[in-house]
Structure formats: structure tokens, C-alpha cells
């Protein structure tokens, strides 16, 4: 199972609902601060008595420190609707602090900035929170359970295909409580295993119902929830600027791993934002394509919006999934891919996607691909991808004749620059896998000694004419010995490297094809 968080915006809440939300946040923060302050004064006691059996601190153990008296004090903040959540939230914060304190001695206690006493507010009052600088940085309100009758849950209007959040934010004494009359225009059901309809009456209620707005990606998960409501677990009510969001945590199944059968190179372009090529295991290109996005205007910083970058990343993921491809991307750190071109007249041809945006897309792929069961993208050096011939492997800047044309100076192969980078990327893992394993030759009085320390290979050949036969026999003996002693080998620091070399040797019929002897 895997945790995923989706962020849903509370769509245009009315002024009264805003007021309810704002008050709930302030009360929650005030109560939270009260707990932290109280715990600060009793920290030694907590440190001593709230340790778990393994010596670590847990949220539940810390929450047990909150006694009856403390709870009575908490009631003054009107936090009954989310009391359990608050205690758990406080427990998680303090447990995190205490666990970190065990590793790092110099760590700050988690509290708001000190507010000047001259202002006359008690430090632990809601008014303090309301008036302090930190009112702009309110801690999100935690909902520790997904439930129809408390904390939070989601609703769905099937006819209008709209989603709503039901948030318990008021206690019985709250003056903002009001009744909610059922609507003739919609029939809303709980996204819950009970599948119950939302029933409203003239009674005043302690919750608010707010429509939600979100993107397609979030909608996919909401639809998942319609089928399996059990995925909704906890949430946080967050204020950003003047907007409110519900950050919902889901527990979803990890998709089955997809066995990749091809490689997908994803490179930048001068005409297109992204070009891609798909090659099979032998390096034969089976498909090429591109993502254009000509209508997109870059922002002031000359980059794409996050939304557009997500679109690009999603396209790549879909294509990789369709072709069962392992995605290979450029490592655009320190050295670039030299795609940019300046012609004789000084005209600049710059890539559509800047390095920063490309790297952001790579970051998105790092979680989007595994979410579909595909491996994370592999980052490889990109310095030669626009100057290397895909036919003969010749790499020289002279191969590039213009901003868009590649003509190999060794074999005459021509290629459009747009596709060249992605094609070379798609073959990079295959090329690296085919690289010869170096074996060093040293002259000794008794003959020529052949050595590869990673493989643990060392043998002396007395007659250079017999080198092929003797070397092949020695390599085969090394491989056999490795497997015979694999348990001992697995404890060696060099195990992974040796194992990968052994596997490469085993993949070819003639081991000599995989080695290169050098002086």
C-alpha cells in the first residue's frame, strides 16, 4: 500500500462559511499552542514517561500525557469537533521533536515566535494567535479520521458530477450553527461504504458543506474513492493566502510492476518542447514523437507553468506505459546537452524547454512513473546526444551542420536534430551494457598477467598466441566460482559491481566479445 495526497480547493465558500473556517483555524492553533506551551514546561516528565518500548517516541504515547485537566482547559478553545485530531497532531509534533532531539542536541522546541508581552495578550490565547504575525501562517487543521458523523468526509452529486467536503468545525455552543435545507436540485451521497444519502433537516448543524474544485489528476483519485471509499484516511484544512484547501491523504494500492521491454529517450528540442524515441532491447527505434505546446506562453521568468509541466510529464508517463518503456532522461546538471545553436549570422536557436523546466519534469517523472508501476527514470549524461551518430557511433561537433541538420562525417548518415537527442538517449543503457569489460595486461618474467580486480580475475598467460582460449577459460572459471560461493561473495563490498559484470558476461555467447585487453 502507498500513501498519496491530493489537494482539493474549497470552491468559493460564502462569507459565513469563511468566518466559520477562519475561527476554527484560529481556535485550533490557539489550542495547539496551549498544548505545546504546557508540554514545554513539563518536557522532562514527558521525555521520561512517554517513551515507547523501543526507546522511541510515538504520537499516541505522547497524546496520553494529555490528562483530564488539560482537556478541560482545551475545551475553552471550542475545539470539541476536532479534539482527537488536535491531540494526535500535537502528539506527532512532540514525538518528532523528541525523536530528533535524541540524534541532534541542538534543536529548537516547536513553538511560535515570542510575542511581546507588552501587547497585553496572554501567550496562550486565541487573540494572541489572531493578532500575531503568525496569523498568516496558521497551522493546518488536522482531521484524523474519515467519517460521516465527525471530522470530515466527501460527498458526491452524481447528476451534476460535483464533489463536496463535509467539515465538522463547530461545537454545540457555536453561534454560527445553522440549519441546512435539502436541495431539490441535487441529490448528494456520502462517498462512504454505507453509500447513504446526505439527509438534511431544519435542525442546526455543526458542520459545513463546501463544493470542491480540482484538476483532472485529483479527479482520478476521487473517482477511485467512489469505487473504494476506504482509501480516504486523514486530511488537513489549509489556508493559503485568501483561499482554503483540503489536503486529503489516501491509502492506495501500489500498482503491479510493469516489466519494461523497451527504452524511451526523452530529450529537449528546438521546435518542440519534448521529443521522444522508443527503442527495443536491441536498439532498434520503433517509434518517435514529440510534444509541441505551441500555444503556451512562458511566464515572466521565461518558463512554463507547473500545470503545463504536469501535462508534459503525464504525456510522457502515458506513452511509457503504453510501450512498457523504461524512461531515460538527460542529466542537465553542470553540463548541458549543447542543443542550442548560433548560426553564422549570429542568430540564436534556443531549446523550447529550459534546463530548469526540463529538470522539473524529471522530478515529476520520478514519482509519476512508479505510480504507474514503471521504474523511475534513468538520468544519463547528455553532452554528446546531439553530436553522436546513431548509425556508427562517431561523436564529433563537426557532425552537426546547422541548427536542425546532422550529417555524420564518418558514414554519411543524416538525421533531424529534433529526434537525434531522444534517439541516442533511448539507446544509452543498451550501449553502456555493451561496453567492453577492461582487462589489464602486465608483463611479468613468467608471461603476461591479465587482471580485472572487480571480477577478481588474475591469470598468467605464458604464450600470447593462446591468449584467447586461456582467457575465455579463466573468465568462465571466475563466473562459476562466483556462483559456487555466492553467499560469501554477497557479504563483500564489491558484490554489486561484480554481480553486474558477471551478469553482462553471461548474456553473451562468447565471453571474449565482452572484454577488452589493454596494456
Amino acid at each position: 500500500m502507498a500513501m498519496r495526497t491530493i489537494i482539493l480547493k474549497l470552491h468559493k465558500p460564502s462569507s459565513i462559511k469563511r468566518k466559520i473556517i477562519e475561527e476554527a483555524l484560529i481556535d485550533y492553533n490557539a489550542a495547539y499552542r496551549y498544548l505545546l506551551l504546557k508540554a514545554y514546561h513539563e518536557i522532562d516528565d514527558i521525555r521520561e514517561n512517554c517513551k515507547g518500548t523501543a526507546g522511541k517516541y510515538g504520537a499516541l504515547n505522547i497524546a496520553r500525557w494529555i490528562d483530564k485537566d488539560t482537556r478541560k482547559e482545551l475545551s475553552k478553545y471550542g475545539i470539541e469537533p476536532f479534539k482527537d485530531s488536535l491531540e494526535l497532531d500535537f502528539g506527532m509534533t512532540l514525538a518528532g521533536y523528541l525523536n530528533l532531539e535524541r540524534k541532534q542536541s541542538l534543536i529548537n522546541y516547536p513553538l511560535f515566535k515570542e510575542f511581546s508581552k507588552e501587547k497585553g495578550c496572554s501567550e496562550d490565547s486565541a487573540e494572541y494567535v489572531r493578532n500575531s504575525e503568525n496569523s498568516l501562517m496558521l497551522r493546518p487543521l488536522y482531521f484524523c479520521r474519515y467519517s460521516i458523523n465527525r471530522d470530515f468526509c466527501l460527498l458526491y452529486d452524481n447528476e451534476n458530477e460535483r464533489y463536496y467536503a463535509k467539515l465538522y468545525l463547530m461545537n454545540n455552543k457555536n453561534m454560527n450553527k445553522r440549519s441546512m435545507m435539502p436541495s431539490d436540485e441535487r441529490r448528494t451521497v456520502y462517498i462512504h461504504k454505507s453509500g447513504k444519502d446526505l439527509e438534511l433537516s431544519s435542525r442546526k448543524v455543526r458542520f459545513i458543506i463546501v463544493p470542491l474544485s480540482f484538476g483532472k489528476w485529483q479527479e482520478e483519485y476521487l473517482k477511485m474513492g467512489l469505487v473504494n471509499p476506504g482509501i480516504f484516511k486523514t486530511a488537513r484544512l489549509v489556508k493559503k493566502g485568501t483561499d482554503y484547501y483540503l489536503s486529503v491523504n489516501l491509502d492506495i494500492e501500489v500498482p503491479a510492476k510493469i516489466e519494461t521491454t523497451s527504452f524511451m529517450g526523452v530529450g529537449r528540442g528546438l521546435k518542440n518542447s519534448i521529443n521522444y524515441s522508443i527503442s527495443d532491447a536491441k536498439g532498434e527505434a520503433s517509434k518517435t514523437g514529440f510534444i509541441e505546446m505551441p500555444e503556451v506562453k512562458k511566464n515572466v521568468k521565461n518558463s512554463f507553468s507547473h500545470g503545463e509541466l504536469h501535462k508534459i510529464a503525464n504525456f510522457i508517463v502515458d506513452e511509457a506505459e503504453r510501450n512498457k518503456a523504461w524512461v531515460i532522461v538527460e542529466q542537465l546538471v553542470n553540463k548541458g546537452d549543447r542543443l542550442q545553436w548560433v548560426d553564422e549570422k549570429g542568430k540564436l536557436y534556443a531549446p523550447v524547454l529550459g534546463c530548469h523546466d526540463y529538470n522539473l519534469i524529471v522530478k515529476l517523472l520520478e514519482y509519476k512513473l512508479p505510480a504507474k508501476g514503471l521504474p523511475e527514470p534513468v538520468k544519463v549524461s547528455a553532452t554528446e546526444i546531439f553530436s553522436t551518430c546513431p548509425q556508427c557511433g562517431m561523436n564529433t561537433k563537426r557532425n552537426r551542420t546547422s541548427h536542425d541538420m546532422f550529417i555524420c562525417t564518418a558514414c554519411g548518415k543524416i538525421s533531424d536534430i529534433e529526434n537525434l537527442g531522444s534517439l541516442n538517449l533511448s539507446r544509452r543503457l543498451i550501449d553502456n551494457g555493451n561496453k567492453a569489460i577492461k582487462i589489464k595486461a602486465e608483463r611479468t618474467p613468467s608471461g603476461v598477467k591479465l587482471i580485472n580486480s572487480d571480477l577478481g580475475l588474475e591469470c598468467v598467460i605464458s604464450s600470447p598466441q593462446e591468449i584467447n582460449g586461456m582467457l575465455a577459460a579463466e573468465i568462465n572459471r571466475t563466473v562459476k566460482e562466483f556462483y559456487d560461493n555466492i553467499q560469501i561473495e554477497s557479504t563483500s563490498k564489491n558484490f554489486n559491481k561484480k554481480y553486474s559484470l558477471i551478469k553482462r558476461l553471461q548474456q553473451c555467447e562468447d565471453v571474449l566479445e565482452m572484454v577488452r585487453v589493454t596494456n
Partner: protein, 390 residues
């Protein structure tokens, strides 16, 4: 002036045409070598006939010391008139290089011939005059070793037009590519094949016009001496090695036993070289004073494979890349096929029983067959080849 003229030409037919409308003639006489490229009007049979007549007439007349005026007048009166177009037309370029080192260049309506000296484009001064209504450009100058000339038809200049390039490859870009690609040890054949490979790719394997490339390279003659196999009579070892060593040019020794004999007679050590890239072949070695020392039959067999492929019509620009590898067979093949202008084989008659096929008589040992085939390949490539048996 002592030089060797390395020349090669190849054509790409217009898509779906059996015959090429370009024609090349290379003629050598006592005092000069003449290369002629003619491009007949249109394509197919008509163009082929026009180009053939043009090139043949010019080649024959100039080889017999006729003037260019006479040749052009003869062409004008000989070429058949096209019924559709009402004209008889063929372009031509003529490059005549005399043994003295003088060069005479004549051009009519073909893309300009260009010349590289030490890899850099050299501006050729041309003078124009009219002969029989045709505007002819003439140039006279001296050549130097490693000068390279390239003549090509307009199919090369227009390569890729409307496909990969809007306006075709264009003359300047062709020259730029050749300058970027040029290497001193590159043969005329290699250069021509490479350029034509680019043209074919630019046309996306469906040429819109006939394209022909002629490359003429002025080279220093290089004799390569190859000693393969021990002498039948071991007492002749010293004599053979001395004869071999005193020869001018490059020296190549093929065979382990042969290498040991040379090493012993010269008093020099054999050092096995492990910088070899093809473990399927035995390594090469170094003996001071010998340019290349390889293993015997296996290496020679592989080199012969390269030679047969080299001279075949199927040979492509990619095949030339094999000759740049560092294993014994590639190095031997490159030395014989690309670097040499003359080859002398010192063939030892002693037979290695390990190589002997029991079905063959003694004199048809594997080694001898290999050498014979190699000699044949080299002669087909216009190299002077001699063989001495011991």
C-alpha cells in the same frame, strides 16, 4: 614530380532509372591521367547516350593530344539532337594531370570543381572563353602531394531538394562537408562513397536526379613490403630477411614463425601489443623497424575478407569504418588497400601442417591461396603488385 594518382568515381541513378545520365571516363596515357565527368540532358537512355558520347570523345581526343577546341567542336557536331527539346546537350568537367605535376582543368556547365590542399579549400583561378557557342572555363596550375580534387554532377548539389533541404544541399555546403570530413589518410574511394552516401540519404533513398562524384587524389607513392611465411630452406632465412629489410617503404610481417625469424635475424625483441580491439583475432606485435607485425593465416584471412568487400560494388561508407579499427586484420587491410600504391610480397614456401588441408596438394596450401586472392584484389584496385617466393 613523383606522385601517384588515386582516383575513384561512383554514381547514384535517378530513382527508377536503369541507366545513369552521368558518365565518367578515366584515361591514363604516357604523360598524363585524364578524368572526365559528363552529365547528359534529361535522364535515362537519352541522357546516358549524350554523356557517354561526350566523355568518350573528350577522353580519346585529349589522350591523343588534341586541343580542347577540337574536342568541343567534335562533340557539338556529333551529339544527337533531342526531338523533344530540340537540342543536343551535355555538360562536362575535365581534369588532366600531367606527370610533370601540371594540371589542366576545363569546365562547362557542371558544378565547379573544387580543390583541397592540406585539407583546406584552394581558390582556383579560372579564365573563360567561348568555343562553338559554349562558355568554357579553363584553369592551369601545378599540383602538390595530398591535393584532392572533387568533380560532381548537379545531382549532388541538388541533393535533398524539397525533401530534407528546401534548396538542396548546395555547393557551399558540399564543400564545407568535405572539408570537415577530410583526413589525410582517406582514400579517393572512401571520400567518394561517403559523399554519395550523404546524397542518397538526403534524397531519402529516392534520388530525384542522377548524382555522380569523382575524386582524384595526388599521393606520394608508397610501397608496402609484406613478408608472410618462413622460407622453405631455413638456411635462406638471413638472406630473405636482409632482402626484405633493405626494401624502401613500409614493412609488414605476417605470421608468428615469420616474426620470430625476423626478430632473430635482426636481433630485435618481439613485444606483444595488447591494445587490440577484436578478441576474435590474435594480437599484433611490435618489432623495431617493422611497421606492422601480425599473426598469420587468421589475420590474413580476415584482411582478405575486407579486401574483397572493399572492391565489391556493395561496398558502403560504413564498411570503411572497419578499416580504422586497431586489430591486426584491419590495420593490415588499411595498409594494403588504402595506403599502398605498390605491394611486394615475400612469400615463404614452408608449410605449417596445422594449416594444411589434406584434400589439397602441397602447392595449394592455404597461405598461397590467400596471397593469390589478395594479389588479385590489389591489382583490381590498380596497385602494382609483385610476388617473390622463397
Amino acid at each position: 614530380m613523383n606522385f601517384f594518382i588515386d582516383s575513384f568515381y561512383e554514381s547514384l541513378n535517378k530513382y527508377n532509372e536503369e541507366l545513369c545520365g552521368d558518365r565518367v571516363e578515366i584515361v591514363r596515357n604516357d604523360d598524363s591521367a585524364i578524368a572526365i565527368l559528363a552529365d547528359g540532358l534529361g535522364s535515362g537512355v537519352k541522357a546516358n547516350i549524350l554523356a557517354m558520347l561526350t566523355s568518350k570523345i573528350i577522353a580519346t581526343m585529349l589522350a591523343n593530344s588534341a586541343d580542347i577546341e577540337d574536342a568541343v567542336e567534335t562533340i557539338a557536331s556529333t551529339l544527337p539532337v533531342c526531338k523533344q527539346r530540340g537540342i543536343a546537350y551535355s555538360t562536362f568537367s575535365i581534369l588532366q594531370i600531367f606527370n610533370s605535376g601540371e594540371c589542366y582543368l576545363i569546365e562547362f556547365d557542371n558544378p565547379k570543381v573544387f580543390m583541397l590542399r592540406k585539407g583546406k579549400l584552394l581558390d582556383i583561378k579560372r579564365e573563360s572563353r567561348e568555343i562553338s557557342g559554349k562558355l568554357i572555363y579553363e584553369s592551369r596550375f601545378d599540383v602538390a602531394n595530398e591535393d584532392l580534387f572533387m568533380m560532381f554532377s548537379d545531382g549532388v548539389v541538388h541533393a535533398g531538394i524539397g525533401k530534407t533541404f528546401n534548396l538542396g544541399w548546395q555547393w557551399d555546403n558540399v564543400v564545407d562537408y568535405v572539408c570537415k570530413t577530410y583526413k589525410q589518410d582517406m582514400s579517393a574511394k572512401n571520400m567518394a562513397k561517403l559523399l554519395l552516401s550523404v546524397c542518397n540519404n538526403l534524397y531519402m533513398q529516392k534520388p530525384d536526379d542522377d548524382a555522380t562524384v569523382v575524386v582524384v587524389k595526388i599521393r606520394k607513392p608508397l610501397k608496402v613490403n609484406v613478408m608472410i611465411g618462413p622460407p622453405l630452406d631455413s638456411e635462406k632465412d638471413s638472406y630473405v630477411v636482409k632482402s626484405f629489410i633493405k626494401e624502401k617503404g613500409k614493412k609488414v610481417v605476417c605470421g608468428g614463425t615469420t616474426a620470430q625469424i625476423v626478430s632473430r635475424e635482426l636481433g630485435r625483441e618481439i613485444i606483444t601489443d595488447f591494445n587490440y580491439f577484436n578478441p576474435a583475432l590474435p594480437p599484433t606485435a611490435e618489432i623495431k623497424g617493422i611497421d606492422l607485425t601480425t599473426e598469420g593465416v587468421l589475420t590474413f584471412m580476415k584482411a582478405l575478407e575486407y579486401a574483397v568487400k572493399y572492391q565489391s560494388d556493395d561496398n558502403t561508407a560504413l564498411d570503411f569504418l572497419n578499416l580504422n579499427k586497431q586489430d591486426g586484420a584491419s590495420r593490415l587491410a588499411k595498409t594494403l588497400l588504402e595506403e599502398s600504391t605498390e605491394v611486394h610480397f615475400f612469400v615463404g614456401r614452408a608449410i605449417n601442417p596445422a594449416h594444411q588441408n589434406p584434400d589439397f596438394p602441397l602447392e595449394l596450401g592455404i597461405k598461397f591461396k590467400l596471397v593469390e586472392e589478395m594479389v588479385s584484389c590489389l591489382k583490381n584496385l590498380n596497385k602494382e603488385v609483385t610476388v617473390e617466393y622463397f
